[in-house]
């Protein structure tokens, strides 16, 4: 008894282990990853903080239901290989999730420790386990069920699609992933910048699935190169659609088509997928602004504003029509952006873009806003203040105010019911669409959300697909 009590006191004394990271001024000029990751020593120390709750709320807080106390216990025992294998049972992309999940509103947000002190750094530990395996692991694969002979097509290689592929391959099905771009990974490759998620890590996570037997076919625009009905004709018995919400929303104000006004999709795709930040070593160019304005304040806006700094911007500003309280980006992203020197202009919205005689943007006119009654989203609606116009000098504008449903696949597929915004309607419990043998999940169902929510939707779908392939629709 007495001994146990001492143990407890000791455990609670350990503070949350910070993850060392590049200094703000240094990292704002390079594309290397910001945090360095835990050492085995800090990981074990952090793992010791976990109370190993009998009814862990963190697991319930995880969209893919990772046994969090279970893998943390293994880290504590320095069984790092065991830890990653334990995570793999529920999550095929731990190196990604450990980096980009909003843990503060999921597992860590409900960690019992958070009531009195800081929660266990679950994300950091997940990242550690995945990185350790990648760098020091045996490469041994998790076990796979006997082949079922059933073929599944996954459309889109983003987080939803990769989750479905990872789940179904270990259940013995044959899985082929079709990707429209020339590289797999979806938003993990084209959207999230290198400094937040190194592309090498995404490539390795995809390679892990390939080693498990998943086939990845790039350059296949389903809906154009091949249709969903043709996939069935080719012998696929189930199709999962996880194509994301790849339609940029652009502002409808005068001057919107001036050179130097990018959608965030274009800006980030040029920089991340096409590696324009390494131009001219890579052939794709990108506009390097001195005075850059990013419109919007979600995670994509933070990624854009921080990319602009790394591409040499003297000023990288975020203009957002609501106030700081409504900022949708993760607190950590906002903090990183501010540390690096991104400035925020709250309660302002552009009314027009101003161009020069070469059609290039040189400035924008904004109106100040105030917050009125709550709107449909529950957030207070921004209302323009008359006569409050002001001008901002800028030579690059990145529009990061959201995305819509890309119709390229849905318009070429009969029998898929869409909602009024063009997103696919699915049964919430199973992720089944209205078309037999077709499931959907991720942003093409929900609109822009997070990597982990897309993975959660992939999990729902893969469970249902497995039932379908073994029992029936």
């Amino acid at each position: 008894m007495a001994q146990e009590a001492t143990k407890k006191v000791k455990r609670e004394k350990i503070p949350r282990q910070a993850m060392p990271e590049q200094k703000a001024k240094v990292r704002a000029k390079n594309f290397d990853e910001v945090p360095f990751g835990y050492t085995p020593e800090t990981a074990v120390k952090e793992a010791q903080r976990c109370l190993q709750c009998k009814k862990p709320s963190c697991v319930a807080g995880c969209p893919v239901g990772i046994d969090i106390p279970g893998f943390i216990q293994l880290i504590k025992e320095e069984n790092f290989t065991g830890a990653i294998r334990h995570i793999w049972q529920k999550n095929s992309l731990p190196a990604v999730c450990g980096r980009v999940c909003p843990q503060e509103i999921q597992c860590e947000g409900v960690c019992i420790l958070a009531k009195k002190e800081e929660p266990v750094a679950i994300g950091n530990l997940e990242r550690f386990a995945a990185d350790w395996e990648r760098e020091n692991g045996t490469g041994a694969l998790p076990p796979k069920a006997e082949p079922t002979g059933k073929r599944v097509a996954v459309v889109g290689s983003g987080p939803a699609g990769l989750t479905v592929a990872g789940d179904l391959i270990v259940k013995g099905h044959e899985v082929t992933v079709f990707e429209a771009f020339h590289k797999p990974g979806g938003v993990l490759i084209y959207g999230i910048p290198e400094f937040r998620l190194p592309k090498e890590i995404v490539a390795q996570e995809v390679n892990f699935l390939e080693r498990l037997g998943v086939k990845v076919e790039c350059n296949q625009v389903v809906g154009r190169t091949i249709t969903i009905d043709e996939l069935f004709e080719e012998g696929y018995e189930a199709v999962f659609i996880g194509v994301g919400a790849g339609l940029p929303v652009l502002l409808d104000v005068p001057g919107k088509n001036l050179i130097g006004i990018y959608s965030a999709n274009e800006y980030l795709t040029r920089s991340n997928l096409m590696k324009a930040y390494r131009f001219p070593e890579y052939d794709t160019p990108i506009i390097h602004g001195k005075n850059v304005v990013t419109l919007g304040a979600g995670n994509v806006a933070m990624d854009s504003a921080r990319t602009a700094l790394r591409l040499g911007a003297e000023n990288s500003r975020i203009v957002y029509r609501r106030s700081r309280a409504e900022v949708p980006a993760r607190a950590a992203e906002v903090h990183h952006a501010e540390e690096e020197g991104v400035e925020f202009f709250f309660l302002a919205a552009p009314t027009k873009f101003i161009g020069d005689d070469r059609g290039r943007v040189i400035g924008m006119e904004c109106l100040k806003m105030e917050l009125g009654e709550p709107d449909a989203s529950g957030r207070r609606r921004p209302v323009p203040i008359e006569g409050s116009e002001f001008e901002l000098e800028c030579d690059l504008v990145i529009v990061a105010v959201g995305t819509g449903a890309n119709p390229i696949l849905t318009q070429s597929t009969d029998g898929l019911k869409l909602n009024k915004w063009g997103y696919i309607e699915v049964d919430e419990k199973t992720a089944k669409t209205t078309k037999k043998g077709v499931w959907a999940g991720g942003d093409i169902v929900t609109g822009s959300a997070t990597v982990i929510l897309a993975m959660g939707a992939g999990r729902t779908a893969s469970d249902s697909i497995h039932d379908y392939l073994t029992i029936g629709w």
Binding site: A180, C218, Q220, I259, Y262, T284, I408
Partner: protein, 276 residues
């Protein structure tokens, strides 16, 4: 890899034809659609409208003019080499129907894009008059193929070295004065499409143009290829590449095509130094 099985240099070697093995695309492609090509790992994604497809052989044909680093890199690819990535077919196919008398106007490598459309219009039962032009005789491409694809072929050169001495619009005006034309198709450099459209508008002839703005993904994801058509923003990759020629804002398109001209120039010069 998408292998090049046949290659021709035309127009003084500044224009190159490639037949590329891409069976899935060849099976699906229709006149007016394009592909995106990427030569290698560090390459750029370049959209090119297909000049021909052969579903049986499983090949597609693209014809490009060397204008910068990426196309210069393409030119280094020989038979047996290949493109790392070819994506397609993208964009909407040309709406081909029988309307009566059609005039097809092509300039530069636009003639390559015009070719399958011309042939399809002829096959659909239209009477097809074709007007093609180049700066000088040696730069003119696909004369024989265009002749076979149309009922009448008229040729113009800016310097008078072959055919009519002058612009395609001179001959177009002649045709429009002489007979009732039901439809025009114009594909070529932006100024050519602009002036053809201005002229056909005077004669109330519906006119289709095919645009080739700067693109990245080609699937409607980035919005880089946006063009103003009738005051609305359209994406050439998914809403086009063909639009009503009378509605296109050509001046905006011309400016947007210059977005990276300085970067492109630098990149091309470095490549030329390396290549020599």
């Amino acid at each position: 890899m998408f292998k090049i099985v046949h290659r021709e240099e035309m127009s003084d070697g500044t224009v190159v034809l490639n037949d590329i093995e891409a069976p899935m695309i060849a099976r699906k492609a229709k006149p007016g659609q394009f592909v995106i090509l990427k030569a290698n790992e560090t390459g750029e994604r370049i959209p090119l409208t297909m000049a021909e497809t052969d579903p049986e052989k499983g090949t597609i044909t693209v014809i490009y003019q060397v204008v910068g680093k990426s196309t210069a890199l393409f030119k280094t690819l020989q038979v047996g080499d290949g493109y790392q990535d070819v994506i397609g077919p993208l964009g909407k196919p040309t709406h081909i129907k029988k309307v009566g008398k059609v005039v097809c106007v092509g300039g530069g490598t636009g003639i390559a894009v015009l070719h399958p459309i011309t042939r399809a219009l002829k096959e659909a039962g239209n009477h097809v008059i074709c007007i093609i032009g180049a700066r000088t005789k040696d730069l003119l491409i696909l004369e024989d193929r265009m002749k076979a694809a149309s009922h009448e072929l008229r040729i113009c050169t800016d310097d008078g070295s072959y055919g009519h001495h002058g612009f395609v619009t001179d001959v177009l005006k002649e045709v429009l004065e002489k007979e009732k034309i039901d439809q025009a198709v114009a594909i070529g450099p932006v100024p050519m499409m602009k002036f053809v459209s201005l002229m056909t508008k005077e004669y109330n002839v519906p006119t289709l143009v095919s645009l080739n703005p700067i693109m990245v993904d080609g699937t409607g994801m980035c919005g880089g290829c946006r063009v103003s058509v009738g005051g609305q923003t359209k994406f050439a990759c998914v809403d086009g590449p063909e639009f009503d020629g009378h509605q296109v804002d050509y001046d905006e398109l011309t400016l947007r095509l210059q977005a990276y001209c300085e970067d492109e120039k630098k990149c091309y010069e470095e490549f030329c130094v390396m290549d020599s």
